[in-house]
Subunit: 211 residues, 2 copies
């Protein structure tokens, strides 16, 4: 019985995700789904990314969080439009929530849609949100064992960002261990190093974005 | 239908948790359920705690992770016994899993049972594992906004550990913001500061444990 319910939820999500992708394709918007543990620096990365946007490019953001509008407030300055989705007790965004969020956004002349998922290394992995690419962040303070421990998060990633690299000298963190673990599960996604705080490595990320 | 299923799962969990608590009470074991985001330092804290255990006290550990036995391997040196529970895609431990894990442990002459939950700020909150106290970790690099964003995790905490305080000087982190957010949802639990790496503040934690 339980399995049946879960299957239906996932099937419904896939259908909704497909509709979102078609809608975004028609509007010429590139959608990115950012997932990571809480505190890996998704919002800080987006703040820095907004600042680097040329005047001819516009970005909109959908932010998922259990509670508060703190991330949306932080991003309000840089993005053309920001919508916060509060999931209550839900540990991930669903395609239906993204579809509803999109209804509140103007997609005209928008280049990028950034979807900042709920900070969680487990739940968001299985939910397609209609994005074109999955961006997974891993911050140095979390430790170099996370790829091995949360493979379902890193497997579907199109790009993996090692964030807070300004702490590489302060903390024990073996980048080779991360690379080795990635080699076992995802050889497709590039691993980019950056610190949104110092700006180091941001050029690689912006280049990947096509900016 | 879905709600019904969830209710049954939670009801079954509560029943199982009650049995576990009775079993631990009879054996004279104090059980602690450690929850936090991935990479907040649960395993490092337990490693340091094991080292500080006097010769007359024994601790056993149950470690939950989606995959790998890395945490169990790290803890094997210090604890009397360690059992790793792999949850696959499950984002939290359940009481049933803990009960099964306990079947593999000897509880004779054991003072502490540490249950290291899956690294996740959402899912573990609602699941009683038969513990006597809930320990919630928040590490400095995660940011000072996490109490407001994940209240369901911090609300049931009996003690809150601000970990990695050796990074307070390196990163922007406002401890007062954490205190203010806690004042709104949990005034019962003490907030202890520590760094398991440098040993700073470990005495307060060990004292809280009654060591």
């Amino acid at each position: 019985m339980k399995i049946k319910v879960v299957e239906n939820v996932l099937k419904e999500n896939v259908r909704s995700a497909r509709e979102i992708r078609a809608r975004l394709d028609e509007a010429g918007v590139l959608a990115l789904n950012l997932t990571s543990a809480p505190g890996s620096g998704k919002t800080t990365l987006l703040e820095a990314t907004m600042k680097a946007l040329g005047p001819e490019k516009r970005a909109v953001v959908l932010v998922g969080d259990l509670q508060t509008t703190r991330d949306a407030e932080r991003l309000a300055g840089g993005a053309a439009e920001v919508i916060q989705i509060n999931t209550g007790r839900g540990c991930h965004l669903s395609a239906a929530q993204v579809a509803e969020g999109l209804d509140g956004l103007t997609l005209e002349n928008v280049t990028y849609l950034f979807i900042e998922n709920v900070g969680n290394m487990v739940c968001p992995a299985g939910f397609d949100l209609g994005e074109h690419a999955r961006v997974v962040l891993l911050s140095v303070p979390e430790g170099d064992d996370k790829v091995a421990k949360y493979p379902t998060l890193f497997q579907p990633a199109d790009v993996i960002l090692l964030t807070k690299i300004d702490l590489l000298g302060v903390l024990d963190f073996d980048v080779n261990r991360v690379r080795e673990d990635l080699d076992r599960i995802n050889t497709r996604a590039p691993l980019l190093h950056l610190s949104a705080r110092t700006g180091d490595g941001m050029d690689g990320w912006l280049e990947w974005l096509g900016m």
